[in-house]
């Protein structure tokens, strides 16, 4: 198992390298450059700027230089935020996005799994229908509609919670963005758990557990839940990807100082290094999570261990 884990870990490095390379050449191939927005720039000044950032060099040399500085843990300077390095920008915004994401995923799991189990155990009753109706709503209605609607209701009309702002991450300011972010994965997890729980409860080993006289809660929590969580475990990576995408709009609506804005703005501004830095951060997180999910799988299902 440990050997397998290290094998996967070493396989992650070339994957990451391919992603970085593809992104590097794609964004450099895009028409326009980082200094095009400032139209007043005299050609000599633009040439000077490009020289100082090494943009006048052939693309292969730029690529080599970038990889070399990357190997030293340096993401390079940002082209648009002139006085900042990409590392500084990410270091400032990442804690915000990370806090938001971690709370959202924790919320989605800790409510979604019990909700799905509850619905499965009350299959085809009103409780099941109500829960699943909420799940459909959570899946269907996009985050950028849910968050403003929540803000309108709880912020503008009821005055319970602030609509926007960060305020050093106070719980009050985090509440609405986190709920909006957690809702789609929560609904999806509830649905997955319900589906697999329904299937597991019909399995022979559950019938056996009941037959030997175990109380219902022991059967459900000790025997049924663990295998029923397999689909949820494999959904974790897409769930985090969906939270990452969701945080782009949530941060912009709620005015949170996270890293979400850098991806879209960086790409539009041709801020090459910033986009690459963001892609590296996001892909590393997802690949790392994929590894963790593999470990989780082995724990949930002993048959996977090898």
């Amino acid at each position: 198992m440990i050997r397998y884990f290290f094998l996967r870990l070493t396989a992650a490095v070339p994957t990451l390298l391919i992603i970085v390379t593809a992104t590097f050449f794609l964004i450099h191939a895009a028409p326009g450059g980082p200094f095009d927005q400032e139209q007043t720039l005299a050609p000599e000044i633009k040439a000077n700027l490009q020289r100082s950032y090494g943009l006048d060099q052939p693309i292969w040399i730029q690529y080599g230089r970038y990889l070399k500085s990357l190997a030293h843990g340096d993401f390079g300077p940002s082209f648009k935020y002139k006085d900042f390095t990409v590392t500084e920008l990410i270091a400032q915004g990442f804690p915000v996005t990370f806090t938001l994401g971690v709370i959202a995923i924790a919320l989605a799991l800790s409510i979604g799994i019990p909700l799905g189990t509850f619905a499965a155990l009350h299959h085809n009753t009103a409780a099941d229908y109500v829960t699943m109706s909420f799940a459909v709503m959570g899946i269907a209605i996009p985050t950028f509609v849910v968050l403003p609607f929540l803000g309108l209701l709880f912020g503008v009309y009821l005055h319970w919670l602030p609509v926007a702002g960060w305020e050093a991450g106070s719980m009050k300011h985090l509440a609405l963005p986190v709920i909006a972010l957690a809702l789609p994965p929560l609904a999806y997890i509830a649905r997955l758990t319900r589906g697999s729980m329904l299937e597991i409860m019909r399995a022979h080993f559950i019938r056996t557990a009941f037959a030997k006289g175990l109380p219902a809660h022991t059967v459900i929590f000790r025997h049924a839940l663990r295998p029923a969580l397999m689909p949820v475990a494999s959904y974790l990576v897409p769930a985090v990807a969906s939270i990452m995408t969701g945080s782009l709009v949530v941060e912009s609506i709620a005015g949170l100082p996270g890293i979400g804005r850098y991806l879209v703005q960086g790409a539009l501004n041709r801020d090459y290094t910033l986009v690459l830095g963001m892609v590296i951060i996001y892909s590393t997180l997802l690949i790392g999570l994929g590894l963790l999910v593999d470990l989780l799988y082995a724990w949930l299902d002993p048959r996977v261990r090898h």
Partner: protein
């Protein structure tokens, strides 16, 4: 085949949520298509005398106007039209690419299948948004390329489903029986493989439409999709968010339409899946 379709239709009719969703969805689509004849206001005319006017049936602007005095009823329904059009077109692209890719991989099997599926695995391991952002960055912000790029990335799930179905259908006893009774490959594909593929393909195509509408409005919301003065539900919502404390209807009208449309499409797709008895992927 006929009996199968009738069966599915009967089961669909006995699902009240799916039927209600179908009616509401049809009403929204009909309203979107007929809007130019229902309300004579133009989507781009600025009515400065009634800027940010409240909604009301007695005024000329039933759903109110935005900051620039543009009629929200007309703009929202124009946005709905664009969103639905992009949703359908991009779904068709995904459908065509996904079904052919998946069927080829599933039919060839072996090493070709492994390589083709590995590619899908790598692509779907990354957040979709990177691709579309890059595509819009490279090709520029054009709505035609937007639906093309969304369609081009939406095919992954479809390809995987079709490939899995093709593989499992090929191993069924009735295929073996057909081969044993001397049926040609063409006949087997036409009579056995493709009809059995139809169920899941129809269901996932139906469920893909709301997903693609969601993506489109997401990109328009971020300012990467439809550009002013054109309107999509995403751009209208983005506009409404800025005004929500003083003129909440600018947010509520397009937001309500998008939420209702996506909800109906999802509920109907789920109903169709149950009616056609397709297993959840």
């Amino acid at each position: 085949m006929r009996g199968f379709v009738e069966d599915a239709a009967r089961r669909l009719k006995s699902n009240p949520a799916a039927v209600a969703a179908l009616y509401l969805m049809s009403a929204i689509i009909a309203l979107a298509l007929l809007a130019p004849w229902i309300n004579p206001n133009s989507a781009e005319t600025l009515d400065w005398a009634h800027a940010a006017a409240r909604p009301g049936m007695q005024s000329a602007h039933w759903f109110g106007t935005d900051r620039l005095g543009r009629d929200l009823f007309v703009r929202t329904l124009a946005g709905t039209r664009i969103s639905i059009a992009i949703g359908l077109l991009a779904s068709l692209i995904s459908l065509a690419v996904g079904v052919s890719y998946g069927a080829i991989a599933g039919y060839l099997g072996g090493r070709a299948d492994q390589v083709m599926m590995r590619l899908i695995e790598i692509l779907s391991g990354l957040p979709l948004i990177f691709f579309v952002i890059f595509l819009t960055v490279i090709f520029g912000r054009s709505q035609y390329l937007l639906f093309l790029s969304i369609g081009a990335v939406g095919w992954l799930t479809m390809a995987r489903i079709v490939r899995g179905q093709t593989l499992s259908i090929r191993q069924r006893e009735y295929i073996e029986a057909a081969i044993a009774s001397g049926a040609s490959t063409r006949r087997i594909l036409a009579k056995h493989v493709i009809p059995n593929l139809m169920g899941p393909v129809v269901v996932y195509a139906t469920l893909m439409v709301p997903q693609i509408i969601l993506f489109e409005s997401f990109f328009s919301f971020l300012g990467l999709g439809i550009q002013e003065p054109g309107a999509s539900l995403g751009t209208l919502i983005a506009e409404g968010v800025g005004e929500m404390e003083t003129a909440p209807w600018i947010l509520l009208v397009p937001g309500g339409f998008l939420a209702a449309l996506l909800l109906c499409l999802n509920i109907f797709g789920d109903g169709l899946r149950d009616a056609l008895d397709v297993k959840e992927a």
